[in-house]
């Protein structure tokens, strides 16, 4: 077990290293550099200042040299300095990551819970009204552009009905503390998390339904019926557990992707997360931030892959006992 985890960690580290290098070249392939943008924003230009700035950012070094410095930094968990924001990238990300994790994990929990539930219900009532309704709604959510749904949701629930705050992380200036603050954040969380979650809810619902129908055809379900077990017990104990195996894979993949995929939601709802940080950094060519966010999200993907594998070991004795 420990050996397995160790092996995976070593592999993950190698993957991360490769990603670091690829990302580095990817980012540097884009036209424009941060110094030029910052210069441009001052509304004036001065070759000397530009050169100074480049020197300060280390952009005057050769690309391989920059890469070497950059990798050396990462080996000591130094993600570099944000040129524009003038703070260490590590601090920036550490600052923003909790918001993103809160948003995406909530969305993830909502979508997984709701999706599996809806999918299971639909599968139980295959061909019936419940199934038709759940399947149709899931398909609709699946087909709706996320940002569009976000806009419409904030229009309806925030502007139209005034029920929920339409954007932001918490009420600025309210200076809530403790429970009040948590409640406030939770309130702000509802719209973005639900919007982000709806699409995945649809994905999980569809997948759970399909997977359950497939498991339903398997022999051991017939065995369970032959025992005289009630359908609800069969579904819960036999069908669902087996049907969840492919869902775990999907969930692992998506939990990782959610972090980087929240860009749109974070933009529409002004959520101070790393998705937006990255989007802004891309526009500003703030290389170190982009690379930092890419690194963190790749690390999260790998982490979730590992969690997926471990979860598999918990759920599936075949994997647990053979490896």
């Amino acid at each position: 077990m420990a050996r397995f985890i160790l092996g995976r960690l070593v592999k993950a580290a190698l993957t991360l290293l490769a990603i670091l290098v690829l990302n580095f070249f990817l980012i540097h392939a884009a036209p424009g550099d941060p110094a030029m943008i910052m210069m441009a924003e001052t509304g004036s230009s001065d070759p000397q200042v530009l050169a100074d700035m480049r020197a300060r950012f280390g952009l005057d070094q050769s690309l391989p040299m920059q890469l070497a410095l950059y990798i050396k930094g990462y080996l000591t968990l130094d993600m570099g300095w944000s040129f524009r924001r003038d703070v260490p990238v590590f601090d920036l990300i550490a600052d923003r990551l909790p918001a993103t994790l809160l948003l995406t994990m909530t969305a993830f929990a909502i979508s997984l819970g709701l999706g599996v539930l809806a999918g299971a219900l639909a599968a139980r009532r295959q061909g019936g009204w419940g199934d038709t309704i759940i399947s149709t709604v899931a398909l609709l959510f699946y087909a709706t552009p996320l940002f569009w749904m976000a806009l419409m949701a904030s229009l309806l629930f925030s502007v139209g009905l005034g029920w929920l705050p339409g954007f932001g992380y918490e009420t600025v200036g309210a200076n809530y503390t403790g429970l009040a603050r948590m409640g406030d954040i939770a309130l702000h969380l509802i719209l973005p998390a639900t919007t982000l979650g709806l699409f995945f809810t649809a994905v999980y619902a569809r997948m759970t339904r399909a997977s359950m129908l497939e498991v339903n055809r398997l022999d051991f379900v017939k065995t369970a019926r032959a025992k005289g077990l009630r359908p609800s017990v069969i579904t819960r104990r036999h069908v669902l557990r087996n049907a969840l195996l492919p869902i775990i894979t999907l969930a692992g993949l998506q939990a990782g992707q959610l972090v980087g995929g929240a860009v749109l939601t974070e933009t529409v709802f002004a959520w101070p997360g790393i998705g937006r940080l990255m989007f802004e950094a891309i526009a500003q060519r703030d290389y170190n931030i982009i690379l930092g966010v890419f690194f963190v999200s790749a690390a999260l993907v790998l982490l979730f892959n590992l969690i997926t594998d471990l979860l598999y070991m918990v759920v599936d004795p075949r994997i647990r006992l053979q490896s």
Partner: protein, 279 residues
């Protein structure tokens, strides 16, 4: 073919999807001939609501341009982006998956590491970065979408090939002295066609969604009229003229819906699991 159709038609949603898709395709193919209006031409006052002027049934946008004409031209571009980027993704994913699946050992390891690698970077973020590098032009938008959407193809094809690889007909081919390339192309791949077609129909839908999301962030070609562009352009006037976002949004929803329904129908009709004898 008849059998295929009857299995397809058993899924009522799939038939509805096909009709919907047909409407969109007809609109995309014939539409521009039926409406003389240049979608970029400013023809009326801005923000004319729908159903006010019979010449402009869907009203006008922020610059007074004909929304119906934009919708029709947009159908063409959105479908084209969906289709071409899917084909491009298949062009990358199918060979990668086929080779990885057919040749276990180092080709598989190498290609799968490569694929995994692509999957580790959040795909939407990657698309954004790619477009920043390329700068948004139609063919680069297509390319970016293709570059972020091929890994699932590769994985699917690899999985299918891997399981087909163990079928006896592959061994029969080897024993006969056929070349691996011949076996892979003539014996194995035709059997992967069905799942690829099913996946492709869904990928077209995903690509259309992806393009619209990129447009929303201002990352698509400003010289072509697509639905994504329409929403992206209309979002700033969402509160003033909600229909400008709503109309193309609905067009996307219906097209994506149609493609998904068609995909499900194809799945029913082609899925070898449901009709063993034919596989």
């Amino acid at each position: 073919m008849n059998k295929f159709w009857s299995r397809y038609a058993r899924n009522r949603g799939a038939v509805i999807g096909l009709v919907l898709l047909g409407v969109v395709v007809v609109m995309a193919v014939l539409g521009p001939f039926l409406t003389a209006q240049d979608p970029w031409r400013m023809v009326q006052r801005p923000f004319l609501p729908p159903f006010q002027d019979s010449a402009l049934p869907l009203g006008t946008d922020a610059l007074g341009r004909d929304v119906l004409s934009q919708l029709i031209h947009g159908a063409r571009v959105s479908l084209l982006i969906g289709l071409v980027s899917t084909l491009a993704a298949l062009a990358i994913g199918v060979p990668v998956g086929a080779v990885a699946g057919y040749f276990p050992g180092w080709p598989n390891d190498l290609l799968m590491r490569f694929t995994e690698f692509f999957q580790t970077i959040p795909s939407f973020a990657l698309a954004i970065v790619l477009l920043m590098i390329f700068q948004p032009q139609l063919h680069f938008v297509v390319l970016s979408i293709a570059l972020v959407s091929w890994p699932p193809v590769a994985r699917l094809v690899r999985g299918e090939v891997l399981s087909l690889r163990r079928r006896e007909f592959v061994e029969a081919g080897i024993v006969q002295g056929l070349r691996h390339r011949h076996i892979l192309i003539h014996h194995v791949m035709p059997n992967v066609l069905a799942p690829i077609i099913i996946l492709a129909s869904l990928m077209v839908a995903t690509a259309i969604l992806l393009e619209s999301s990129l447009s929303f962030l201002g990352l698509s070609d400003p010289n072509v009229m697509s639905w994504g562009y329409m929403i992206g352009a209309a979002r700033t006037a969402l509160r003033t003229a909600w229909w400008l976002s709503f109309i193309p949004g609905i067009a996307i929803v219906f097209t994506v819906l149609a493609l998904n329904l068609v995909g499900e129908g194809l799945n029913d009709a082609l899925n070898p699991k449901l009709n063993r004898g034919d596989a």
